[in-house]
Amino acid sequence: MTRLTRAPAATVVLALLALPALLPIAATVLAWSSPETGIWAHQLEYVLPRVALNTLLLVFWVGLGSLLLGAGLGWLVAFHDFPGRGLFSWALLLPLAVPGYVLAVVAAGTLDYAGPVQSWLRAVGDLDLQRLQVRSLGGAALVLILTLYPYVYLLARVAFEGASRTMLEVAMTLGEDRRGHFRRVVLPMARPALAAGVALVCMETVADFGVVAAFNVDTLTTAIYRTWYGLFSLQAALQLAGLLVVVVMATAWLERRSRGREAYAATRPERERLPRRRLRGARAWAAMLAALMVLGLAFLLPVLQLSAWAWQHAADLDARYLDFALRSLGVAGSGALLVVAAALLHGYALARAGHAVARGLGRLATLGYALPGAVLAVGVFAPLNALGGLLQGTLVIMFIAYLARFLAVAAGPVEGGLARIHGGLDEAAATLGSSGPARLRRVHLPLLKGSLLVAAILVFVDLMKELPITLMTRPFGFETLSVRIFEMAAEGEWTRAALPAVMIVLVGLLPVYLLSRRMDHVA
């Protein structure tokens, strides 16, 4: 009965939430109504096989790499105690604040043949490392892993910290030691969270343009831009993007299917957490060094290099930068709230939605993340402008496009959090007389707090770094730090772009720190 009355409302909500993402996806589908046969013959022969292989390899390596790195660090921090653990537990999130394209440029600038590292090696040790090519698929994969692993790390840490002492004890009485417990209980139970993290990483990798462009690695996304910018065919570019969407949809579907019924496995909120194991001696040092090395490569050294570059152009720093920073903060902050609120709505609607159409809509709503930013921006911008100039000069289109792109980022953690709320809890709250909004506030929000914070952090830092949508849909004079990077970088003045880049990192740092500290209390 309730299901019948609830389902239509849920479907409507899902349809509304899917609309922003549907606009560009529809554009990629509609583009196929008149295939650019000339361009396609060319693409099929000279472009697609190569870029498809590159994309697959890149997604594979980045997915695998961030899974290992993110889950490994999550395991280290969640289950062990070593010097600096408290610091690392949030500091390992900091690479999130470094835009991938920035890290790529820093890596290319410092590690390439002409960079200081190789120059020094040649000067000192007569070492010619021509062979060791940074600007390659491997280099791009490394940079993407270093910037994207925090997605997996964050979700893995939360999942691991939810591991209960009882489960360990059960496993022990069944003959498994801690290692066996981790392998056979913790990991499988964390699998949905890990999968969600890796899915985000893969989608971001597919959509990435900044890193692969800096390293000149040709992927489907660069092919899309080349078709649009170089061959002057947005039509064919959209068709390529449509192909991308299909691949991503199929992958997401397969992943979901492989998880199958495990999704039903709801656990009660845990009472007793697993105690951390104190590492001593060499192990403690090794743990600390491992964490420090990742943090150093992904954050400390790049930020140091950026700061050095920024120092060279310190003259650029003027009062306007305060505006840029505040605007970036404002956009990212309000955008994160909007997207997280939408994700909450999305999660509830998805849980209530009865039939397959509604669920399909719900999944579509999160596909925008895999679309290259500029394609998505055009896909949202063009149809909304058909409404007339109504929205001109406002931030409405920008926020709608943000929603289309970043709903996926927030939906993962929120859905995971909702799944952990036992159905019985709902009923208990209903019998206690709180229902609807009151139930949300008094029962669900406290339980969801951790997941919502995770979602908010992820969207926030993503929005701080976001470029193509902001660039296209912003009103006049609306400059953010990332727009500033574009202004400097578009003409190759990378060292001058360091100043806004450092500021993005700094401005993004504080919220990441505050939110993750709070999460420690909540989770």
Binding site: Y113, F381, G389, Q392, V396, F476
Partner: protein, 334 residues
Amino acid sequence: MNPAGALARVALLLTLVAAPALSADPLVVYSARNEQLIKPLFDRYTRETGIEVRFTTADAAVLIERIAAEGRNSPADILMTVDAGELWRATERGLLRPLQSRVLADNIPAHLRDPEGRWFGLSMRARTLAYDPRKVDAASLSTYEALAEPRWKGKLCLRTSKKVYNQSLVAMLIAQQGEARTEQVVRGWIANLAAPVFANDTQLLEAIAAGQCEVGIVNTYYLGRILKDRPEFPVKLYWANQGSGGVHVNISGAGVVTTSRQPAAAQRFLEWLSAGEAQRFFAAVNAEYPANPAVGLDPLVAGWGTFESSQINLGKAGTLQPQAVRLMDRAGYR
């Protein structure tokens, strides 16, 4: 986490941004040329005329789609790009209107503007050879095509073919020498590469300086920028194809948008940019060459000497660009 507060914040932002400007009829420029290269000039125009100039920046292809999507509601008066191909593309979409301007016709040489007056070059960007004088005798250099010869094997550096500068260079080679010969040349280049192609000209110049390669093809202003910081930078320019077609030039240029509500004011602004101090600054700020030959050069740029440039109309760069891109795909130029 207070949703009501968040909404209020969004609403506040929206109204702040949507608030109408005080000055009447500002000019609106959609620019692919970066803020720091245009804003000083725009401010100056406002000081001189009282007309406010608003702008937004993005990639040209994105700006074109934006104008097209906005249709008759587009606030854009002027589209400014850093490449002729994009302007040609905008005319193909019917987004630029023809201007009847004596001033522009006089100031800008014919090959640097649309024959129908829909766009005009405002500065000229020369793409020529850069070499390491410690290893290369200038006498051994001659043309773009010559870099395809086996003697440069393992010595050539190129920027990615994704950059429009290389696409228009190859387009112009096709215009001069035909597709078959050009493909041969590009294949030769690729065979000679010393390192994977670079993401930008600055990296390429650094690679020459570091000894990774001996010669490359760059836009001159990238070297200009480096030289302003490091006068001792050990890379020199060579003017290619002197006596055989001339140095490949592109433009940073602009046109008036078809749907502009004040085309006359927009035209006056372009005319102002095409001459005098404005024209000198437009080029000098980025070590480019003024499109107006009557305007003086930046001293650093002047130091590189004079050269014969290609006289083919730059509209060709647009028409041939897709062909050039496909050719580079075929030749394995990434």
